[in-house]
Symmetry: C2
Subunit: 151 residues, 2 copies
């Protein structure tokens, strides 16, 4: 059995990111990296997501350079895409209202988010009192590889 590994073109990487919604994000602070799993919705070169307050959010606020990774494992092969980008927060104010609405309209398509599952209906993140923070990762470069098994 041999596995053929091919580089993906940027357009293929973007298409893959649009087709998936689970991945991992890395950020770093003082020369130390940190990873978390995230759900996201990718549209127009931005990965939209939201987060509870915590280490990930603190670190991305301190250093907006982030790395997003998503993969798909299938029988006999895999696709792996990594994207460099910049964290951008969508604060809960009028300036960012349209971005928040856009992010939410994309994210709510899949009601089984980990974090949404933990919330009561009255805690939906569109409400002002929610501690959730909407953010986007504006992707600046992508690379990816596809592996296919050849018998």
């Amino acid at each position: 059995m041999t596995v053929k590994i091919s580089e993906m073109r940027p357009a293929e990487c973007y298409h893959f990111l649009e087709s998936t919604r689970f991945g991992h994000i890395a950020c770093c602070r003082d020369g130390r990296p940190y990873i978390a799993a995230i759900y996201f919705a990718f549209s127009g070169s931005v990965a939209y997501s939201f987060s509870m307050p915590g280490k990930k959010l603190d670190w991305m606020r301190a250093n907006n350079k982030v790395c997003l990774h998503a993969e798909q494992l299938v029988s006999g092969g895999w696709t792996s895409v990594v994207a460099d980008g910049q964290f951008e927060e969508f604060p809960d104010n009028d300036t960012w209202k349209s971005e928040r609405l856009h992010a939410w309209s994309l994210l709510k398509m899949h009601p089984d988010w980990w974090e949404i599952g933990a919330m009561k209906p009255y805690e939906l993140p569109m409400l002002n009192q929610s501690p959730h923070v909407f953010y986007g990762v504006a992707v600046t470069s992508v690379s990816g590889r596809i592996a296919v098994t050849i018998d």
Copy 2:
């Protein structure tokens, strides 16, 4: 539906890492993070793995602070563990021979590694001419969370 999220004790985190073999590793350089998916074997607070030459290896050699993340998704819940640690290379020389043998003895238990699948038998990483680099992540701290759905 409510999801109950609990913090894991360090011993639970280590046990989880021992029970899994797929995760993501992050490293950083000049304030920019990078992620890659890896297979590993965790034993004695060290995650053993190997890598082809490339960006991940270059960056971990330049800054040995890394972050390892592994999760398990099951119906109605998930386990997520994140570990801080230090990259340590096991060069192909007599000094590191026992570490390389130990790493390989753990890793070879699962013959379906992505990278192993790509190799011909004569390219097994124990051979001197292999470009693969064995390394370990010596874990210094762990944290984890378990989510369980409560109806």
